[in-house]
């Protein structure tokens, strides 16, 4: 089992994702430079957070044209596991691999803080270790995480059980007060129709070890690795 962590100019959570996968989860992991064109030999792809191309123009808008993104598209089309975290999520929506868009936080400012997340579905390779409705704690760190989509898209996401995480309060209520960035319907993460491409604003890579204050991120990565090993046997 082997994971790719993509590196774009301006990625800055690449090392964090690499560390979590390689040293905490313990799976084989390699960096893949954005100018590469192939993902052959990889079982999963992580698009890490950061500020690819400085977040200039729109977050993710320039990165999505990097050569590696063609390979990501093919990889995803063939059912491969792709997880985009924060800027990775932004790149995935810009690339059209996930629906909707991520705009400026409603408070306009960058927010770095722990938030509570409600697990909305366990029917994804990334959430198998969770319970539906369970409340997780994960850090967010972004200025553009305000998820928007047109009503039909939103309807479809709900109908197909594609909303994976919602911002909520400690009791699990997805209230407006618990919504840090104004995201529609408190959406913090969604999965593709085929359920293999996950985009999320919160950072599992920042909560994969107890010393950093929590392990919910580790459970997410373990779910991903676990589902992949199952699907291989």
């Amino acid at each position: 089992m082997k994971f790719a962590v993509l590196v774009f100019p301006g990625s800055n959570c690449d090392h964090d994702c690499y560390h979590a996968l390689k040293h905490v989860v313990g799976v084989e992991t390699s960096f893949v430079w954005h100018k590469e064109e192939s993902l052959a030999g990889f079982d999963g792809v992580v698009i890490p957070g950061g500020f690819s191309y400085g977040d200039y123009l729109r977050c993710g808008a320039i990165a999505r044209f990097s050569p590696i993104m063609k390979a990501v598209e093919t990889f995803a089309r063939e059912g491969g596991s792709v997880i985009g975290i924060c800027n990775g999520f932004q790149i995935l929506v810009e690339a059209g691999l996930l629906p909707g868009a991520l705009i400026r936080n409603r408070g306009l400012k960058f927010i770095c803080a722990d938030v509570s997340l409600r697990v909305e579905t366990t029917g994804t390779p990334y959430t198998a270790e969770f319970r539906k409705g369970e409340v997780l704690t994960m850090p967010i760190a972004h200025a553009e995480g305000n998820y928007v989509a047109d009503p039909e898209t939103l309807e479809k996401l709900k109908r197909n059980d594609q909303v994976v995480f919602r911002y909520c309060d400690a009791q699990g209520n997805a209230t407006d007060a618990a919504n840090p960035n104004g995201a529609m319907d408190n959406i913090a993460g969604i999965v593709s129709e085929r359920r293999n491409v996950l985009g999320m604003m919160p950072h599992p890579d920042r909560c994969a070890e107890e010393i950093l204050g929590g392990g919910d991120g580790l459970r997410l990565f373990r779910s991903m690795v676990g589902s992949l090993s199952e699907s291989r046997v």
């Binding site: 123009l57 729109r58 808008a61 320039i62 044209f65 810009e94 909707g100 868009a101 705009i103 400026r104 936080n105 409603r106 408070g107 306009l108 305000n146 928007v148 989509a149 047109d150 104004g182």
Partner: protein, 80 residues
């Protein structure tokens, strides 16, 4: 030749920055201010090509990169 490109959020898409500026203007006493919408304004220098060609190419740039058509509209002008 030069292209001027205006990228604006589609009506219906919330514009948090516009809202904030609107409130700030009110706070500064500009009570006459109604809705404020904030977009991008790009000036692109273009080498060679005819006006029609230029317009076609810039339109392509907008569709591909400069605007995210899910949330944004664009408008362009070609000036000499």
């Amino acid at each position: 030749m030069k292209a001027k490109v205006y990228v604006t959020l589609k009506t219906g898409v919330l514009d948090p920055q516009g809202k904030a500026v609107e409130q700030a203007l009110h706070a500064l006493g500009f009570k006459e201010v109604g809705d404020v919408r904030i977009g991008k304004y790009l000036e692109i220098a273009l080498n060679g090509a005819t006006r029609e060609d230029a317009e076609k190419r810039v339109r392509e740039m907008c569709e591909k990169l400069l605007a995210n058509l899910i949330i944004e509209d664009y408008r362009l002008e070609i000036v000499p």
